[in-house]
Each structure stands twice: as structure tokens, then as C-alpha cells.
Point group: C2
Chain length 322, copies 2
């Protein structure tokens, strides 16, 4: 492992111990039907069954529970409007402190309700990045709350990396041995970077592969150019993967990840529908991107044992893509 | 236990051993959010994750694998168009014999495809009960195939009853002790009768309760009148529960079941949506009827440990009720 990376395997082990009381050890499931369709031995890590319905609970709990008593007393703040916001809200409630969540005024009511349901203090702002950052700065100045970044944070990356440790432990536990590849949806890159550290530190020969929508392909372009390229004007149904890759995440991904594969929206929708109908699990579009990549790049995985991460299951049942 | 009932606990134990290689031990899941909504400690047995997506795999495998070699060689026949048909088809394939499935010509293509996908020999007939029965008789006369009834059959009842044994074993296994009540959707009554025998033989004080749509309330009327009342003109979204209670099932239910509760279609849809959004599991309308009954009759279950069976997850994603 590279000593100059933002995190190492020990950070992930520490995260696993820290968050264990607050998060689920989610099931690792398989499906004969999907394996046959994919032409490989396909397993799925069901993080849609995680607390708050997404892997984000891991990183948020690690960051919030790593705070000192004094830091925690001042509360935490974030400006995500998605799964990370709910995760920070829950982690803060579990820690017994306040989560300040800045959300754009046009965020869906269902998301506001979810975050409010975890007891967070919500601040609405204009739907611009500047307004969000101003609101966060204002809250920090007023309360001393600590920012919990959704992905570009060593503690968040280590927390998400616990997903990778569990995958390997669960396969070991049922005598399946290491996978040939682990496929991880990539947005900001926290999950992909964390899993890469976890997997490569135990099995350097296991491929760790990012899966990204063609309509938000900054990680793909960054990975192949060697330069961090920001995402502008993303256009994909995978609304959890719109953001740009973080700097720390990129540093890890560029060293440890084997490839980043692209999938188009029809492929994402098809994978989502297969997961719903064949495995009876509700996944959001972003959560199906790993399986979509395996199906779209069959030759790459032929005959291998492959694990795709189902990252989340929070979807508006009245706005389904079929 | 009553020695004159169609099955006893030993039949269920035998079924469990017989079907173990072919069916899943499905998860028993809980949800803090649903428990809070229901005002009780609510657990759910996820038979939507069962083979073929429904508990029907249990009874079908028990019936098909209980056949002698000579009987099995002649094949099996059924005229269900729903989950039981797929279950019989899979069981026959696992046994290495032929399943003849009589389906009405107007059955949805997706259901025909599912049954065909398990390798069954499909015979289409006019959509009347007479035409179905004639087609079955014709197949039996021609092939000697054994009829596997969807519910009014001791082997099928015993197979479905293995669900009850697993629920009790799973609660024991995590130190939760017996439930106060087990709530089971009722159509033909195979699952309810089988679970009643399993549960009452171990915990006579645990309530076993049927849950039925108001639009197909023959079990409720039969139970309360003491006379088997056939279902005519059912009208409910729970399309797996339209059938009349079987005679053997009624004999068990009238002796062992504590009550049958009714739920209306809006309650079924609400429960279904809660299961999809909060637990991220795809259940069909019939599969949500147990949870719907717990929510609709809160006072009945207040503060108790309650297990509702999620019976199946086969639903047309393009015809959702919201």
C-alpha cells in the first residue's frame, strides 16, 4: 500500500469498530438468474438495506463518532440534499448532537421530510452552490459546527471502505474465497476509494472497478487522463452520481483502481428493473449502476466471481423510469 | 394437537427435511420505522425472497418430492396461473420430471413466460373453471400426471407450514423468544393452516391470525359462521387471495386459528408502499396484506412481538397501484 494515500487499511478497521453499533452488516446476495444473464458468478452487496437506505450511513457515522466530545457538542453541518444528509442527521442523533443540513429550497418535500424525520435542523437556501456554501459558513460561524463532507474526507472514505471489508469477510465466511472483481458506482468517489483500499490491501490481484453513467463521466475522464476533471452539466437518471470526484478520492482511485467503466441510462434502467423483479430489492438508479456495468461489459467479467455494490434504495415510487 | 386434523407437526418437520435442498431459508427482518408506525415490535418473514418469489415453492417441492419414483416419472399437473404454477414448474424441473401447467389463454404474457422459463409444458385453455378442469383431466388421462393442488392438499399444507417453523427458529436463534402473534395472508388457506399447525404445536398461546381483503372475505365469513362459504366475485387488488378456502385448510383453521382480520384495498396499498420504501423489499399486493392487517388493527397488537408473512414479490412494475 502507498503510505502517502489519504487512508490505509488500519483506518478502515478503526472505522468498522467505531460504526458497528450504528450500522447494519448488510446481506451479500446472489441470484442464479442474474448470474446467468451476466455470464459470471454475480454477487451483490445490499447497501440499499443499510440504515437510511444507503451506504452513506457508514461514512457519516465514522466522521461524527470520531469527533471529540467538545467538537461533537457544537454539532455538525452538511449541504447535501440526498442520502448523505439523512446519514449525517441519523449519525448526529445517535451521537446526541445537532445536525445542521443546508438544503436547496427546491429539494423534494420527501427528502426534506426524511432529513427532518431524523431530527436535523434544516436551513433552506437558494438552489446554487454559492448559496449553499454561504449558508454552511454562516452556520459554522454561528455554532462552531464541524462540516461533514459527503466524500472528500478521510474519515468518510474510511467509513465507506468498511463495505469492502464486509464483502471479503462475507465471501470468506461462506467458503467462496476472494472475488475476481468488485464493481462500485462512482460519484464523488468516497465508496470506490474506500473499497479500493480495503480490497487491495487484502487481495492485490482482485480488480476494483468503478461504474459511472456516461452522462456524468468525470471520474472516467479523470482516471484516463490522469488529471482531475470536474463534472459540468451532468445528465443521467443516476441522481446520486452527479457530483465531481473529490481530490482525496482521486488520489486513491488513480493509484488503486483498475478501471472505470461507463454505462448508459437505458442500461441503468434495465439493471434496476432486473434487480427489482429478480431479486425483489428496491434500488435507486445510482444503486443499479454497478450491475449495469457488469451486464454492459460482459466479456470483461466472463466466468469470474464478481461483486457489485447496490449503493442505495431511496427512490420516488411515483416517478419510476418505466 | 388434534389427531384428526389433516396434518400435524411431524408432517411439517418431514417437509422441512424434504425441501431443504431446494428452497431458501428466507430472512426474518424488522424495521424500527414500521414498528413505530404499527405500535408493536413488528417482524416480517420475507417469502418474497423465496425461490420463484413466493412461499408456494415450499408446498410444491414437498408435494413433488414426496412422489414415488413411478409417480414422479409420469409428471405432475396443475391449473394455477399464478405463483403456484411457477413453483410446481420449478419443483418438477428439480425432480427431473415434467410439469404440465394449464393456464387460461388470457393469462398475462409475463406469467406464461415465467412458467415456461422453468421448463413447464403449458396448455392454454378458455378462461373458465370448467375448461381448466377439463384440460387437467385430459392431461391426467393421457399422461398419468399427478395433480398438485395449490392449497387443498396435506403435503402442500405441510410444505407451507415450514415457514412457521423457520419463523420460530429464527426468533429463538437471535434470543427473541416466541412472538405474541403471527399474521398470515389467507386465500386458499394453505399457508395459514400450515403455519397454525407449526406455531400452535410449539407455542399454544401464540396467536395465529389470518389477514384477508374485504373484497375476498370468504375465510372471514367461513371462520365466523363455522361453515365453509365459497368466494364468489372477489374484488381486490390482492390477486393472490381471490380463491375460496380449501376444505382441509378450513378444518385446520377453524380449530387452530385465533381470528381472521379484514383489510381494505387502500390499506393494502399503503402497507405495500411502506414495505417498498422503508424496507426496500418488493412485495406484491397479496404479500402486504399481513402488514396491512397489523396496521389496520393496531389496538389488537399493541406492544406485542408480531410476525407478518410477506408472502410473495411477483408484481408487474408497469401496473403499480400508486
Amino acid at each position: 500500500m502507498n503510505p502517502d494515500l489519504p487512508i490505509d487499511a488500519a483506518d478502515i478497521e478503526a472505522a468498522a469498530a467505531r460504526i458497528a453499533p450504528y450500522v447494519h452488516r448488510t446481506p451479500l446476495v446472489t441470484s442464479a438468474a442474474l448470474s446467468e444473464l451476466a455470464g459470471c458468478d454475480l454477487w451483490m452487496k445490499a447497501e440499499n438495506l443499510q440504515k437510511v437506505g444507503a451506504f452513506k450511513a457508514r461514512g457519516a457515522h465514522n466522521a461524527v463518532f470520531a469527533l471529540s466530545e467538545a467538537e461533537a457538542a457544537a454539532g455538525v453541518v452538511t449541504h447535501s440534499s440526498g442520502n448523505h444528509a439523512a446519514a449525517v442527521a441519523l449519525a448526529a442523533r445517535n451521537r446526541g448532537t445537532t445536525a445542521h443540513v443546508v438544503m436547496p429550497s427546491n429539494a423534494p418535500e420527501v427528502k426534506k421530510a426524511a432529513v427532518a424525520g431524523y431530527g436535523a435542523d434544516i436551513t433552506l437556501c437558494e438552489p446554487t452552490l454559492q448559496a449553499r456554501e454561504d449558508a454552511v459558513a454562516d452556520i459554522q460561524a454561528r455554532t462552531g459546527a464541524v462540516l461533514v463532507h459527503p466524500y472528500d474526507d478521510p474519515l468518510v472514505i474510511a467509513g465507506q471502505g468498511t463495505t469492502g471489508v464486509e464483502i471479503l469477510d462475507q465471501l470468506d465466511g461462506i467458503g467462496q474465497g476472494p472475488p475476481g472483481a468488485v464493481v462500485v458506482p462512482v460519484g464523488g468517489g468516497g465508496l470506490l476509494a474506500g473499497i479500493a483500499v480495503a480490497v487491495k490491501s487484502r487481495y492485490p490481484d482482485c480488480a476494483v472497478i468503478g461504474a459511472e453513467p456516461v452522462g456524468a463521466d468525470d471520474a472516467h475522464r479523470s482516471f484516463h487522463s490522469g488529471t482531475l476533471v470536474p463534472q459540468t452539466a451532468p445528465d443521467t437518471i443516476a441522481d446520486g452520481l452527479l457530483t465531481s470526484l473529490g481530490e482525496r478520492n482521486f488520489a486513491i482511485i488513480t493509484r488503486l483502481v483498475d478501471d472505470i467503466l461507463l454505462v448508459d441510462d437505458p442500461g441503468i434502467i434495465e439493471a434496476m428493473e432486473l434487480i427489482w423483479t429478480r431479486i425483489k430489492l428496491v434500488v435507486e438508479p445510482s444503486g443499479a449502476v454497478g450491475v449495469a456495468a457488469v451486464l454492459a461489459h460482459r466479456a470483461r467479467f466472463a466466468g469470474q466471481r464478481v461483486v457489485a455494490v447496490l449503493t442505495g434504495g431511496n427512490v420516488d415510487l411515483r416517478k419510476l423510469p418505466w
